[in-house]
């Protein structure tokens, strides 16, 4: 996958974060951040300004849609892809209304997850290549 940007994974389940993060590394993404809930996601987002956010739909306390709305308030242009375990039509539609770029079923075979990610990256970063963005100072 041709993507030099950074990705934030938001999921309350550690094994999902581990899986997605390993998968991303396997696909050649090097800058990966993790957050285990909505609040943490907002904090990490403010600090690191990742290019892409993978956001779990089902989280306790602040759920995915709420987090999505908060992220969009912080930056209307942020690119968010929802992580779902079920392709729940209603949630998919709702997250699309609130500006999610796409959704990925995290229970899909990993080739499919990779394909969906690549597609999203191709559409969202076609013109403003994130490669040009300087890495965050840490």
């Amino acid at each position: 996958m041709n993507f030099n940007g950074s990705i934030l994974i938001v999921d309350d389940e550690a094994h999902i974060r581990t899986f997605i993060s390993l998968l991303l590394r396997h696909l050649g993404v090097n800058r990966i951040f993790e957050a285990k809930n909505g609040n943490e996601a907002l904090e990490v987002y403010e600090k690191e300004r990742p290019d892409l956010i993978l956001l779990d739909v089902n989280m306790p306390m602040m759920d995915g849609i709420e987090t999505l709305r908060a992220l969009k308030r912080a930056n209307p242009d942020c690119v968010v892809v929802m992580l779902t375990s079920l392709a729940n039509r209603q949630t998919v539609d709702e997250s699309a209304t609130h500006g999610a770029a796409n959704y990925i079923r995290k229970d899909a075979p990993f080739e499919e997850i990779g394909r969906a990610l690549a597609e999203t990256i191709d559409t969202c970063f076609e013109t403003d290549a994130p490669e040009t963005k300087p890495p965050p100072q840490s």
């Binding site: 094994h15 590394r25 396997h26």
Partner: protein
């Protein structure tokens, strides 16, 4: 308590009975007997009043006289059944009308039982107890069933995520994402992958069944060219089939009919039928997927080279957990839920699914769906 009376195994104390009779004396006598048994009693002296009292108290059972001024008992019963449908309490008629025709009319009106006057108190009580018990059991059963579906759904949900991580991680490892593996390590990791894959499939199917059983199967139908939908599945399944040297061919002599389907759900049906065909056919088979259409319906069929469906197992084919004696030919797994889910999805679309043996060898599954109007 009377010794000859068998102890009821179900506690009916506090269940409520509405007694309807225009004769005050009857109300008093029956009311007294039932109160003594611990039932809650409400009374009405006409059909009209019965409807009002019913609405207010929602009794568990109605004891209904037939001959009353105003609307009679049969009419009252019909109105109750019409208003409250499935949730309506059982109605027992109690009347001096005792001709066979009257009794039939009572059952036609929706009554569950018919008692004739003069009545024997013990008989009245026994019948009331029977119907109250049945009703209580039905209530408990439907609650238990709903709880089972919720439990199943929750379980499946909470099992899915960890399972998909296990599968995904094993998959990544076997792709050498975490460095190279010895042959033995590779075998271990592939075994983990295979086992978690089949478990995930089982959980997914259980979740599907729970969702469908709980009545939460919602279809998002869109006008769809069925041939295109099927073609995609044929293409994707072709890769798996190739591992068994099996070829899937697609035949389409239709004018590409458009039908209203929930694409994800219908894809699940197509995938399932094609995967089954591959699963139960010997290596090196030819699977034929054909698009069909006539004036009122359109759909597809899947023909395999498997052993066919034994006549004595046919009734199990589309039932939950209805696994047949045929074994997958490449060590694949089966939950016995796939075809049951297919049937439920197809029926939710107003369509039909069937299967027939092909003389010679194999069988053909046919799905017909109503045409888009």
């Amino acid at each position: 308590m009377d010794d000859s009376q068998p102890t009821p195994s179900i506690d009916l104390k506090g269940r409520s009975v509405l007694i309807v009779d225009d004769d005050r004396v009857n109300l008093k006598i029956i009311g007294g007997i039932l109160r003594h048994e611990g039932f809650e009693i409400s009374e009405a002296s006409s059909g009209e009043q019965a409807l009002e009292v019913y609405a207010e108290y929602r009794p568990n059972l109605v004891l209904l006289d037939v001959m009353m001024p105003g609307i009679d008992g049969f009419e009252t019963c019909r109105t109750l059944k019409k208003t409250y449908g499935e949730t309506c309490a059982p109605v027992i008629f109690i009347t001096a009308k005792n001709k066979a025709d009257d009794i039939v009319m009572g059952f036609d009106a929706g009554g569950v039982d018919y008692l004739t006057k003069p009545f024997r108190p013990k008989e009245v009580l026994a019948r009331i107890r029977t119907h109250l018990s049945n009703q209580l059991l039905l209530e408990q059963l439907s609650k238990a069933n709903a709880a089972k579906d919720r439990f199943l759904g929750m379980c499946a949900h909470d099992l899915r995520n960890p399972l998909s991580s296990i599968r995904g991680l094993a998959e990544l490892m076997s792709e050498r994402a975490a460095g190279s593996l010895t042959d033995e390590q590779m075998e271990i990791v592939q075994t983990i992958h295979g086992a978690s894959q089949s478990m995930l499939q089982l959980v997914n199917e259980l979740l599907d069944v729970a969702t469908i059983e709980a009545g939460h199967l919602k279809l998002a139908k869109e006008p769809t060219k069925i041939a295109e939908l099927v073609k995609r599945s044929v293409h994707l399944s072709g890769i798996e089939a190739a591992k068994k040297d099996t070829l899937i061919e697609m035949v389409n002599r239709t004018k590409n009919p458009v039908i209203d389907v929930d694409r994800n759900k219908m894809r699940q049906v197509v995938d399932n039928l094609i995967n089954n065909a591959v699963k139960y056919s010997p290596r090196g088979s030819l699977i034929t997927v054909q698009i069909n259409a006539d004036d009122s319906s359109a759909g597809f069929s899947v023909k395999d080279n498997g052993p066919g469906i034994p006549d004595n197992e046919r009734h199990k084919l589309f039932k939950d957990y209805g696994r047949l004696s045929a074994q997958p030919t490449g060590g694949e797994k089966s939950t016995g839920l796939g075809l049951a889910i297919c049937r439920k999805i197809v029926e939710a679309h107003g369509g039909t699914i069937g299967a027939d043996n092909i003389p010679g060898h194999g069988c053909e599954f046919v799905v017909r769906l109503p045409r888009h109007k």
